[in-house]
Amino acid sequence: MSILLDRATRVLVQGITGRVGQAQTRWMLEYGTNIVAGVTPGRGGQDVEGVPVYDSVSEAVSEQEAEASVFFVPAPFVKDTVFESVEAGIKLIVVVTEHTPVHDAMEVKEYARRHGVRIIGPTSPGIITPGEAKMGIMPGNMFAPGRIGVVSRSGTLSYEMSADLMAAGLGQSTVVGMGADPVVFTDLPELLALFEKDPGTDAVVIVGEVGGVQEERAAEFIGREMTKPVVAYIAGRSAPEGKRMGHAGAIIQGGLGTYESKAEAFRKAGVEVADSPMQAAELVRKLV
């Protein structure tokens, strides 16, 4: 079992004819993802790695019954591409694109809520259900099937965390890179709720980082509603105040978004906080 994505999910790739889109389509197909169509406006009729390309999402949906979409479109087009996809009936979107304007992200988040569509990202490495399918850019060899759910704000640390779990003998049910922009479309508590309900997940690892309040809100949710064990790691303990640490959302400002605030919130909710991804993997192994 898994959340959001499995081997049957009919996946559409948007921006499939670009350099990154093509390369990632090949990796996703090799991993076993059921990619049924691609879209690049103006390139309909071509194919990429044997996947038919359409001019519009509505064609991809009506011809190939695409239900989920992964975006490799340039940042200025993310907003419009979401509108097109949602209107065509897509129910799950993964936005890999970096540097989406924050005001566009706010507009999209409000729109997605009103339409009941799940969007992951922006700046997400994707979603992977190991051994079944992946929508995104995660290197497949860092993951193994199993029963631990992983949610990470960082892309690269989602790989490291999963590989550390593997080294500890633990596979993953699903790994979600939620993105680390100041505004993300799906918040940490929402993803925890999905793992809580998933019969294929025994425990969850959160990979957080400094900036924002996702971890604090997640801690409130865990204290209130979660029964499965949760372990956390938070990156950026040594980050100076007032600097954006690579991710637009990873900034400590006016004393908000600090490591201490997040670690304390987790501990109060009964969540053990590890000092590194490796230590987090060891803590999980003791819990399950």
């Binding site: 924050v102 005001h103 409000e110 993300v184 918040d187 980082e209 600097k243 690579g246 590194s276």
Partner: protein, 381 residues
Amino acid sequence: MRLYEHEASALFATEGIPVPESKAVASAVEARRVAEELGPPVVVKAQVLAGGRGLAGGVRMAGSPAEAGEAAAQLLGSTIRGMPVDRVMVARRVEVARELYLGVTVDGYKGLPRVILSAEGGVSIEGLARTHPERVASRPVSMVQGLRLFEARQMAREAGLVGGQTVQVAAILHALYRVFRRYDALLAEINPLACTPEGQYMAIDAKLEIDDSSLYRHTELGIDPEGRIDNPLERMGRQIGVTYVDLDGEVGTISSGAGLGMASMDIVGRRFRPANFLETGGAITEELLYQAMGLVLHKGGLKGVFINLYGGINPIHEGARGVVRYIQEHGVTIPVVAKALGNRQEETWEILRRGGVHVVTDVETEKGVEELFRLMEEGTR
């Protein structure tokens, strides 16, 4: 990207926010002339992108053009909270009976703009919201509907304003929201909004931070973001296309992701001090890593470099060539340890090893960092 006060103030004025007449100048002579034109008394304000400017002595009152010239002469060339002052703003002085706070910011968790108004300005709004939440009116605004004028009036009443004040202040708050939307701001703030003894309102400070990801659609501002970065190494980082944060330490770090970069820095920090944070993002090329090596090693005195890469979207084998080329061309003698995993990892290891880089094939970042510590202690490369 933060704008300077004089830039933000000019943009506020175009949306109809009342601001004092002012001009930004770069010399004491000009400051004196502007003070004459405006008519004293004036305020001379250092144009730096630092908070707490007033407390640090960056705001001077001048009763005459000569005093304005003197104040400018003292401020220009000095530093305020570590930031060099190369421009001052000379503004007509406004008599202040009362100060208010107006702000629009991004509520990251809600994913909506948040409009904030308080009848107590000139203070830290975060502090006031903690100690006296009832004195701060604050609400999220729908991106679809925007801030309605009547909502702004409701907020003014909530903050304790009465009668005609609510109408005037609501109009300014509404204009501030328009500035926020129009320029893709992360923060638009007036702190304080002055109320004169005659009951006129005027923004006597102006703060505007624009979302870096939106700068491509704000060429009308004619602003070069690189020029705003005071730290030369951080500026160089932006020029070559990486995020570099300068720290005071002896171990350089290069990572292919922000989270990985922070984790590397944290783990290095257990025993040594990281010299920097450097994150490449998802566009690694041979040239990018060649330049990243140059940037990290730019400041002398480093004792080692730790490289932490994942090949998801990134062609790490190309990056490896850049690292090796830099080491060979510049005769690097300190130990360089690399952990590089993901797509095409074996090819990457081979390139790095041939170029004299110590490759760690473990997945755990601490094992790579420990290998670097060991080499640093041995004093070998």
